[in-house]
Amino acid sequence: MSRRSIQAAVVLAAVIALAIVVAAVFGGTSQGAVKTGKKAAVNTAVKGKVTFDGIWTSSTGQKPFQAVIDAFHKKFPGVTVNYKPVGNNLPTVLATAVAGGHPPDMADIAQPGTIKQFANQHKLKPITYANSVLNKNFSKGWLSLGKFNGKQYAFVFKAANKSLVWYNVPAFKTAGVKPPKTFSNLLSIAKTIKASGTPAYSIGGAEGWTLTDLFENIYLRTFGVAKYNQLSAHKIKWTDSSVTTALKSMGKILGDTSNIAGGTAGALQDSFNQSVTNAFASPPKAAMVFEADFVGGVILSQTKAKPKTGFNTFVWPQITAGANAKAVEIAGDLMVTFRDTPAIRAFVKYLATPQAAAIWAKQGGFGTGNHNMSAKVYPDAITRATEAPLLTAKSVVFDMSDNQPPAFGSTAGQGEWGLFQKFLQSPSNIKSIQQQLEAAAKAAYK
């Protein structure tokens, strides 16, 4: 073959390749919009379809949520809800779907930051039509978590109580101490527990989020909801004196090195799961774990400890008196809507009822702020103990790191997580940690 013919072939092939690339890049947006339910409602019977992208998969709650959907379907036979279990990468999937112009009708989102972003982009529909149901069943504190730009866009359907401490009952008995009511009480029983021969604290420091949760609870208990939300939105700088105070309190726990299972070095290499199994082993390697309601599940599945006789829980002790002592930090799933149809409206209103909450609550692994649902619905004493505070909570805050840009609030070894691990390593270094936190926050909020 001559040289020129080869050149021509090369050019032609390149053109074909380019055409395919162009088609691949720009062809993705040509799909039609997803059809949604009909608008007209015959009498009271609403008809239509609702597509729902959810975080719950078959192992994490798809079944109980499907039970909720089935109960709804009985009430509204004309409406079918198609639940799609997307799993943990739901935020990415949603972001892509929203950018591509075909989001699902509804979704549950665990990051208020993501919801805010969608609301700002006008991708979400307000759910103000459900206000009467919501106001009847939820306190203002709860509803505020779903308000963005002054409008109700979402509400917390499923919540986890993060303001808890779990303790090894035999270890407390050996030390002869009772669950503390105040922070100073906590520190003094920790001393007694150490004298009894068991380290008081088990810290899962290999994963930064356990440390930020500890900080968040201390900050919330000391300064209350308003300041917490300001810090969470980076309206207060991390170099603020309130952060100094909270870190000093935190240092009283993390600085008590010989009272932490495995010492500082051990704590930095213990995962969250290990920190739980350490504390509830027999004989115990530690007496207390600071973490959310889901610790109970880990204890039951990975240790031999039994509820009440082996493990129990208490509410994060009071630091300053008043409302701050009763505030609750939660993580959870907020219901959002990307479209507005009668079918969607019916489903949203149904989800806000105590009946809907009770269906899942009965099966465990579920907390709610729906105060018209009775705490008796919860399946066992431990769940009642962990979730009942949510029902009466007036001041509720969302896990701070879920509100922050992920680069700062939720990246392994980086930002807040990495810096709190540094703090665990040298808890006296408050000033330098604050400056580094502020620098990292500034970069992430840019």
């Binding site: 072939a9 690339v21 050996t174 392994a412």
Partner: protein
């Protein structure tokens, strides 16, 4: 292909007559059809992503067009300590891994040539490369665990350490009151004693299951003339009790060695405590004394080295990685060895060279091309190392174990969401790999 004899045919673009010679266009078409798959693949999976990444590296974190930041991303790459750690660590990886992998591979290859079961041996050394790097990471993480009950390496350390210095009976114990002061690894009662005195040595921080067997209720001994009596006991009962006071329910600690110091600080007598924790020094001449617990009682058991801590994390990762790749190097070098002309070696031996000289002056120079292949492969591998860091390092040490590819993934995909800086790292890695690649291509050309 020869087209010389068909010039009489008109060069038509349309389909040539059946059976006739293909026209110019259709020859291009044939060539294009054959080349197209390769070009499409190259275009879609190589050229387009590469070009896009380079362009992307000059834009901001998320928005693309309109967020032009110039070289800011590269500036971040070379100033932020997070990335400089990655660059520094990558330099260590490049400096250490290829050399060690090649050296260990060479040693194995040369030695296995001379053993009977060389195939079995080679298979075993080669096995790690058949395991996914992720599984290797998880396995080595357990091996490296600081707790000797979990980590095999530290378990070995404990066997050795405990044989040299056995742990004391009460290694975790602490004094219950400030009258007991640390003294040379042990504890010493500050209060001076005279014959007829009673020493109360209260200890806390002892878990019930750690109390030595056979312990009985502690009893405060009576004063006896010419003797110094005392008791060592677990000065704790539920709720704390009164520190320094022997109470009901508090156990004596048997088997603890007690030392009696004279006023000059010399140990004049020693004693062991009984089941109720009591001890007695008899025939004590008049004078001032101090009683204390010997250091051996508190000797700590081996706690394990922090292999995955901030200081040792990178060396630990390097060891695991070399373990994976040494087998690869061995196999490649062994292949090179087997194709080496034997007569050269024989000639050298005949000329009186010893084995070391043969190895150093003949084998290694002859193996140079193969060693270069190993080196180049390893340098490229190491520049993009990721999985072993991800799987082996605990999250708390990601910062210290950071390497470029890991930083790229974390910055762009895992939470960071900063595609600008992520692309900049990718371009930087590409630039680092480029000279090695060019070298490799040139070598290929020469060999062909």
């Amino acid at each position: 292909m020869s087209a010389g004899g068909i010039t009489a045919e008109p060069p038509v673009a349309a389909a040539p007559p059946p059976g006739g010679e293909p026209g110019r266009f259709s020859r291009y078409l044939t060539a294009a059809v054959f080349l197209a798959p390769a070009f499409i693949m190259l275009g879609v999976w190589m050229v387009y992503p590469a070009v896009y990444t380079i362009i992307r590296s000059f834009f901001g974190p998320t928005g693309f067009l309109g967020s032009w930041v110039g070289t800011d991303n590269y500036h971040t790459l070379f100033t932020s300590s997070y990335f400089t750690t990655a660059i520094k660590n990558n330099a260590i990886w490049v400096a250490v891994v290829p050399a060690f992998v090649a050296a260990i591979g060479l040693i194995f290859a040369v030695l296995t040539e001379r053993v009977r079961w060389s195939l079995a041996f080679k298979t075993v050394v080669f096995l790690p490369i058949a395991i996914s790097a992720f599984a290797t990471g998880v396995t080595w993480r357990i091996l490296y665990d600081q707790n000797p009950d979990t980590g095999a390496i530290n378990a070995l350390g404990r066997v050795v350490s405990d044989a040299v210095t056995p742990p004391g009976v009460l290694s975790s114990a602490l004094p219950s009151t400030s009258t007991l002061q640390p003294h040379g690894g042990g504890l010493l009662l500050k209060t001076p004693l005279h014959p007829g005195g009673v020493a109360l040595l209260g200890l806390t921080g002892i878990a019930p299951q750690d109390v030595p067997g056979g312990a009985k209720q502690a009893v405060k001994p009576d004063s006896q003339s010419g003797q110094i009596n005392g008791v060592v006991w677990r000065d704790f009962k539920p709720g704390g009790g009164k520190p320094g006071v022997v109470e009901k329910g508090e156990l004596g600690l048997p088997g603890v060695s007690i030392e009696l110091h004279s006023s000059s600080g010399k140990v004049v007598q020693t004693a062991k405590t009984a089941a109720d924790g009591s001890f007695a020094f008899s025939n004590v001449p008049a004078g001032t004394y101090q009683a204390g617990v010997g250091a051996s009682t508190f000797a700590k058991p081996f706690g394990g080295y922090s292999w995955l801590g901030d200081r040792l994390i990178t060396p630990s990762l390097l060891i695991a990685y070399i373990w994976i790749w040494a087998g690869f190097a061995m196999v490649v070098i062994a292949a090179g060895l087997s194709s080496m002309p034997r007569d050269v070696l024989e000639a050298a031996r005949t000329d009186g060279a010893n084995e070391w000289q043969v190895f150093r002056r003949v084998t290694v120079p002859l193996l140079a091309p193969v060693l270069t292949v190993v080196f180049i492969t390893m340098i490229i591998n190491v520049l993009k190392v990721f999985d072993i860091v991800f799987a082996l390092a605990p999250e708390s040490e990601y910062r210290n174990a950071n390497v470029l590819a890991f930083a790229m993934w974390q910055t762009a995909f895992s939470g960071g969401g900063n595609f600008g800086v992520g692309s900049a790292i990718a371009v930087f890695i590409f630039l680092l790999v480029l000279p090695v690649l060019l070298l490799n291509v040139r070598r290929f050309r020469r060999e062909l």
